[in-house]
């Protein structure tokens, strides 16, 4: 009996994922109302719980896809994958105010470029602080501090070692997780409460998953504005990190 139940759940993986997420979200909102009187938003709790579950799943399965490495929950990888994520992010744009976007356009563009450069510099300085002296490793880790896609793209282009590329991915993952979890806590002190600051925030942070999760947990109305700029960030990062930024690092750290 248990076997056939398991078979049904595995065969209908995405439906199992809907059920899993539904239960998780329901529990999180219940917890939010019951124990924090709504102060800690239900979606923030749900996202944090998702990350905790991913952590323990990773410990148990030794895999890289969190709970989705259990065959029973393989559908979570599809539901939480790039296809549905992008589809839903685009949907949030429906009804967004076109004038707000025009108004924040310049600040948005500046924030993307500055966001890439600042993250790269921070990552590069940390790499130097931890004893790296070759331009390729420093640049790859700097790129990883931008996003976990910019890191490996840069590292591959520059011929970095796989260990350094793995580190750059890890730096990007830490960033994305922290943006997801930390945003609701700092939102009011950094003025993240209007479309303009949301676009700036998306451009500065750049990690699409982090920004998407962070804004969802702060104020879902801001999601389209932040996501709009964030989606350009990785592309700009892949453009700047292995080229201009690497050349600057190579001037500072010649072989």
């Amino acid at each position: 009996m248990i076997d056939s139940l398991e078979a049904v759940l595995i065969k209908n993986g995405i439906l199992t994922a809907f059920l899993f997420v539904g239960v998780l979200v329901w529990f999180s909102y219940w917890f939010s109302n019951k124990f924090t009187r709504g102060h800690l938003h239900g979606s923030a709790i749900a996202i944090t719980l998702g990350l905790v579950i991913a952590y323990f799943s990773g410990l148990i399965t030794d895999g890289s896809k969190g709970i989705a490495d259990f065959p029973l929950f393989a559908g979570v990888a599809v539901l939480g994958g790039a296809m549905f994520r992008d589809f839903a992010i685009v949907a949030t744009a429906y009804g967004a105010d076109i004038d707000e976007i025009k108004h924040a356009g310049l600040a948005g563009v500046v924030s993307i470029i500055l966001g890439v450069v600042l993250s790269f510099v921070v990552g590069a300085v940390v790499a130097v602080g931890f004893g790296y002296t070759d331009a390729v490793s420093i640049s790859t880790i700097g790129a990883g501090a931008a996003t976990y896609i910019v890191g490996p793209v840069t590292g591959t282009a520059l011929g970095a070692s796989s260990e350094v590329i793995a580190l750059s991915v890890a730096a990007g993952l830490v960033k994305s997780v922290l943006v997801m979890v930390g945003t609701p806590f700092v939102a009011s002190s950094i003025g993240l409460n209007n479309p303009q600051s949301a676009m700036v925030y998306g451009g500065l942070m750049g990690t699409t998953s982090g920004v998407a999760g962070g804004l969802a947990a702060t104020d879902p109305k801001l999601v389209p504005y932040g996501a709009m700029t964030a989606t350009f960030y990785t592309g700009v990062g892949c453009l700047l990190a292995p080229s201009v930024l690497f050349l600057i690092v190579r001037v500072l750290f010649p072989d």
């Binding site: 997420v21 939480g80 549905f84 992008d86 429906y94 580190l167 830490v174 997801m180 998953s209």
Partner: protein, 127 residues
């Protein structure tokens, strides 16, 4: 028809993804440049002209609104499939680099939010 809204959303997302890839190839990077952002612009433009020639019925709209509302559950699923073990166990350097990048980013939000606030944008934008 609900499916019209869903189809329009899919059309925008696919077109954005395609143009984002093209843009990436054009500037020579191995990444999609702004695909989702471009798709969002299409959807916003289409929803803003909808009152005139191109009318979306409330029923069609609900096809888009459903996916908009599914956004948080999808993000929760995304969180549950992250490679958290690597994020937390790759040693201090990755953690320090990631944390500092976030802190610097947060600090810059209020500074950059002031750009263009209360005055006309500096570019030739006619907005």
């Amino acid at each position: 028809m609900i499916v019209y809204g869903v189809a329009l959303l899919a059309f925008c997302t696919l077109l954005g993804g395609y143009l984002g890839d093209m843009l990436g190839i054009a500037i020579g990077v191995q990444a999609n440049v702004g695909g989702v952002g471009i798709a969002m612009m299409f959807l916003i433009i289409m929803s803003n002209i909808s009152s005139k020639k191109f009318h979306l019925s409330p029923m069609s709209e609900s096809g888009i609104k459903f996916w908009s509302a599914m956004y948080i559950p999808i993000i929760v699923a995304m969180a549950a499939k992250q490679n958290m073990v690597v994020a937390l166990s790759s040693g201090w350097m990755a953690v320090v680099a990631g944390v500092l990048a976030v802190v610097v980013g947060f600090l810059m939000v209020p500074v950059l939010s002031k750009i263009g606030n209360g005055k006309k944008p500096l570019t030739g934008d006619k907005s």
